[in-house]
């Protein structure tokens, strides 16, 4: 297998640092194992005023050695009943697919992976997919059928809703065992997930100095201020 390239390591270190300094609303990321930059644990808080309210879902993100040229994959570790999540937890979302041209898939081609996509844009797509499943290419056909019944009956057919709420509730109980308080109001959701202190922040200088030979001036460029913000971080739930 190909060695992870210095580009992959560099891109991931950069993104990881940015996400610690300025997290995406409703998400927390950390490394599954501190020595491995290529596997992240993502915790997702269910957005308030949605079926997922109160839920706390864990997923693993795996990055290929040629990231960011190829997309990572995401697998939910928490049970998630959703049209675009396979039974084993694998998430099927177009932004994580290489841009092959197959009209069969029913996915909009404009959402495919390209090297400027990043964890931030992925997470925003995930949160919007939770609320608006793609029923054209379902990974879980039963969930898809059930979801459409719920949607088309304007919420009268509650089977889908009940399953989601039950899962969110179960996930919340799990979270409480871990001592995590899930934000329930929009205000808490935004503030809490934003102004997180950087307690267990990794010392990224290690990555810069040891792991690759690229520029020494990288660290100066990492001030949080100049990242894109505002325009899409409120996506979906505002």
């Amino acid at each position: 297998m190909a060695q992870p390239t210095s580009s992959a390591l560099r891109a991931l270190a950069l993104e990881y640092k940015s996400l610690q300094e300025e997290p995406v609303e409703g998400f927390r990321v950390k490394l599954v194992n501190e020595d491995n930059m290529f596997e992240w644990e993502v915790a997702i808080f269910g957005p308030p005023d949605t079926l997922y309210q109160g839920g706390y879902f864990k997923a693993h993100m795996k990055f290929p050695p040629d990231y960011p040229y190829s997309p990572p994959s995401i697998r939910f570790m928490t049970k998630v009943w959703h049209p675009n999540v396979y039974e084993n937890g694998d998430l099927c979302i177009s932004i994580l697919h290489p841009p092959v041209d197959d009209p069969q898939s029913g996915e909009l081609p404009c959402e495919r992976w390209n090297p400027t996509q990043n964890v931030r844009t992925i997470l925003l797509s995930v949160i919007s997919l939770l609320n608006e499943p793609n029923t054209y290419s379902p990974a879980n056909v039963d969930a898809s059928v059930m979801y459409r019944r719920w949607r088309d009956s304007k919420g009268k057919d509650k089977e889908y809703e009940n399953i989601i709420r039950k899962q969110a509730q179960a996930a919340k109980t799990e979270a409480e065992k871990e001592g995590i308080v899930v934000p329930l109001t929009l205000e808490d959701y935004c503030i809490k997930t934003r102004a997180r202190p950087a307690e267990q922040q990794l010392d990224m200088t290690d990555f810069y100095d040891d792991e690759y030979e690229l520029d020494d001036d990288e660290d100066d460029q990492l001030s949080a201020s100049d990242y894109e913000d505002g325009d899409d971080s409120g996506n979906g739930e505002s």
């Binding site: 297998m1 190909a2 390239t5 210095s6 580009s7 560099r10 891109a11 950069l14 993104e15 940015s18 960011p68 040229y69 396979y86 039974e87 084993n88 694998d90 099927c92 290489p98 841009p99 092959v100 041209d101 029913g106 081609p109 404009c110 495919r112 992976w113 390209n114 090297p115 400027t116 996509q117 990043n118 931030r120 844009t121 029923t135 054209y136 990974a139 879980n140 056909v141 039963d142 059928v145 459409r148 690759y212 690229l214 520029d215 460029q221 100049d226 990242y227 894109e228």
Partner: protein, 264 residues
């Protein structure tokens, strides 16, 4: 898209994953082959091209006529990025010697980031690619013999080389999208320009066609001459200038599926 009974669901699951696995494996094999070839090779006398075709009359005669116009060839790795890699290497190499053209290009490159962000590319990542791109450009700016070596070294370091390719792909995509009304006519099928860019221009390893070259040369204001060497009639590799009428700053050799650099 009717409600379908779900009895074949497990089969579907494995099928999807299987397909992806096969694709992955195929990509890996292709990668291994291409990785045995340098990203950008050394300058070789054009005779080395003739030697490839001693058994092949059509190609041999074309290689020979090419030898009357060009002295050297520089090969690039056939990984689908060869046009962008060959183009940028050849152009930067030229700029080592031409100070005022370099300054003009640097200015353009500097501004290009904001153009891309305004087209909706995520700033965080575009900035990273742009920084690396500028770093490479500035190494060339010194205009010394050392810049030549540095350029060659950077273009053979995957981290730098591929970042330059990504960034050029973004610039080409930006150009196509900005002039979408015009480029729409060149796109086959019912894809929009934006869709085309997402599928054929922005992703790594996607091969380049006329439209990529036109967009690239228009975006940077750089003339490119491509010599097409194939089984077509005649004893000469046909020349094609992009854009038409502009004196070429970069010369490339095209053989089906691949671009290398030529030197007059």
């Amino acid at each position: 898209m009717e409600n379908k009974p779900s009895q074949q669901k497990p089969a579907e699951n494995t099928e999807v994953n299987q397909d992806e696995l096969i694709l992955q494996q195929q990509r890996r094999i292709e990668k291994e082959i291409s990785e045995s070839i340098a990203l950008v090779g050394e300058k070789e006398p054009l005779q080395s091209l003739e030697r490839e075709y001693l058994e092949d009359e059509v190609y041999l005669s074309k290689a020979k006529t090419l030898g009357q116009k060009y002295s050297y060839i520089r090969r690039t790795r056939p990984d689908g990025n060869c046009f962008f890699r060959a183009f940028s290497y050849a152009y930067l190499e030229r700029l080592i010697d031409i100070k005022d053209e370099f300054e003009k290009f640097r200015e353009l490159a500097l501004k290009s980031k904001d153009n891309l962000v305004s087209l909706g590319f995520p700033e965080f990542t575009v900035e990273d690619f742009h920084d690396t791109f500028m770093e490479v450009i500035d190494k060339v700016g010194a205009g010394t013999e050392a810049s030549r070596l540095e350029l060659h070294k950077l273009f053979n370091e995957q981290g730098y080389s591929d970042y330059v390719v990504v960034y050029l792909r973004l610039i080409a995509s930006g150009q196509l999208q900005r002039e979408a009304d015009f480029y729409q006519h060149f796109i086959e099928g019912d894809r929009t320009v934006t869709e085309f860019c997402h599928q054929e221009v922005e992703p790594m390893y996607k091969e380049s066609d006329h439209i990529h070259i036109i967009a690239m040369s228009a975006a940077l204001g750089t003339g490119v001459q491509v010599r097409y060497m194939d089984r077509g009639a005649g004893t000469e590799a046909t020349a094609h200038d992009f854009p038409e009428g502009v004196p070429p700053a970069v010369h490339l050799l095209y053989r089906p599926g691949h671009y290398d650099i030529l030197y007059p």
